[in-house]
């Protein structure tokens, strides 16, 4: 029963993803690996769409994966799955909000959880990096080292990195502009 599995997988992501939007990403890669419902490159595309449309990123990604896997019912079920743990947990702690915030065990657990979340997101980012900047398959078949690097993509990545991090005027521009610009570059330079 694919819908039950969808709900379960997204319930798990909602329960364990700590630190907002991008924190769901490692769970989505895990779902991709364990079920084969969608590929790593499809997932990278979903991240781009989720970033460039209204709504919280985590919810957008759940809806997208759900739709790809099981059509409209899949989209609804995956979305309900990712929000269910939040609703349950928040309703439970709403009454003891202050005590929860000041609890030293909660604080100590989050001291460990935050770096964990960074490590997991970085690992997911590494998978996208491998996919976007390197031609691992081409390299494996030809054995020519130059074939490993996707030069055009690496130049674009370097340019984006400089623009998004070091150009003061552009640093706070919404990601959607960089996504759109990259799409244009992709078409013009035939990526």
């Amino acid at each position: 029963m694919i819908y039950l599995r969808l709900f379960y997988e997204f319930f798990k992501a909602g329960l364990f993803a700590v630190g907002g939007g991008m924190a769901t990403l490692p769970f989505l890669y895990d779902i991709s690996d364990s079920t084969g419902w969608f590929t790593h490159s499809q997932l990278a595309d979903m991240v781009a769409v989720s970033e460039s449309t209204p709504g919280p990123i985590g919810v957008n990604m759940a809806t997208y994966v759900g739709y790809t896997t099981g059509g409209i019912p899949g989209a609804v079920i995956a979305t309900l799955g990712i929000i269910a743990p939040s609703i349950i947990i928040i309703l439970l702690i709403a009454k003891v909000l202050k005590a929860f915030r000041q609890n030293k065990y909660v604080d100590a657990a989050f001291y460990g959880l935050r770096p964990c979340s960074v490590g997991l997101i970085a690992a997911a980012g590494f998978l996208v990096l491998k996919l976007a900047l390197f031609n691992t398959e081409l390299y494996q078949s030809t054995g020519v080292l130059a074939d490993l690097f996707n030069i055009k993509a690496i130049i674009l990545a370097a340019a984006l990195l400089v623009v998004t991090r070091y150009v003061n005027k552009l640093r706070n521009v919404h990601p959607i502009f960089f996504i759109a610009a990259s799409a244009v570059v992709g078409i013009v330079f035939a990526f």
Binding site: K12, F16, A17, G19, G20, M22, L25, F27, A44, D45, V47, A48, V49, E51, T53, P56, N60, T63, I72, A75, V76, T79, I83, S86, I87, I89, I90, L91, A94, R101, A108, F110, Y111, G112, R114, P115, C116, S117, G119, L120, I121, A122, A123, V128, L129, A132, A153, A157, L160, L161, T164, P175, F178, I179, A181, S182, A183, V184, I187, F191
Partner: protein, 180 residues
């Protein structure tokens, strides 16, 4: 009933206007929930937001559940949350439907190859931003690197790392390693 409906509409508006989630949401919540409707004070909103960050799940969803339950109890919490995700469901389903039928066109494929590079950079930027807030001492540095290396090379569910790291956080704090 009326107020439940209003909760749904208000949070659906927040959902539509939130681009990218996270901090982008605060000014919109301020306007829709605090200024226009007086459902919560700015301080309460910041409290909810802070707790929303240190509970699992999507922060926008957590904040919606908080405000909803404050207004109308459990039903309010559920309705507000459904409101905040409703626009995503509609918009993403439409886009996903359209993209699936265009994805085989060469230009679309090339566009997405370019976009993937951008996604890479966006994730890298997110990681460095989170890194500054989370990796504050030697113990967190070790935890972060260990999680990264192990999850790149081994096939372990991220949930396992989350549970182990929560335990490690408590253990390190008790042992007095924290902050050194």
């Amino acid at each position: 009933m009326r107020e439940l409906f209003q909760l749904f509409i208000a949070f659906a508006r927040v959902g539509v206007m939130t681009f990218g989630g996270g901090y982008a949401m605060i000014p919109i919540l301020e306007r829709e929930i605090v200024d226009k409707r007086g459902w919560a004070s700015s301080e309460e909103l910041m409290d909810y937001y802070a707790v929303g960050q240190c509970t699992p799940g999507v922060i926008a969803v957590n904040t919606a559940t908080f405000i909803g339950q404050k207004r109308r109890g459990i039903a309010g919490g559920i309705i507000a949350t459904l409101g905040v995700v409703f626009p995503s469901l509609v918009i993403i389903t439409l886009i996903a439907g359209i993209l699936t039928s265009f994805s085989h066109i060469p230009a679309v494929e090339q566009a997405f190859s370019g976009i993937r590079v951008c996604v890479c950079v966006l994730i890298f930027n997110a990681v460095t931003k989170l890194w500054k807030k989370s990796v504050t001492d030697k113990a967190t540095l070790v935890l972060c690197l260990l999680v990264f290396i192990l999850s790149v090379f081994l096939d372990i569910s991220p949930a396992v790392f989350v549970i182990l790291c929560a335990g490690a956080g408590i253990l390190f704090t008790k042992a007095g390693i924290r902050g050194k």
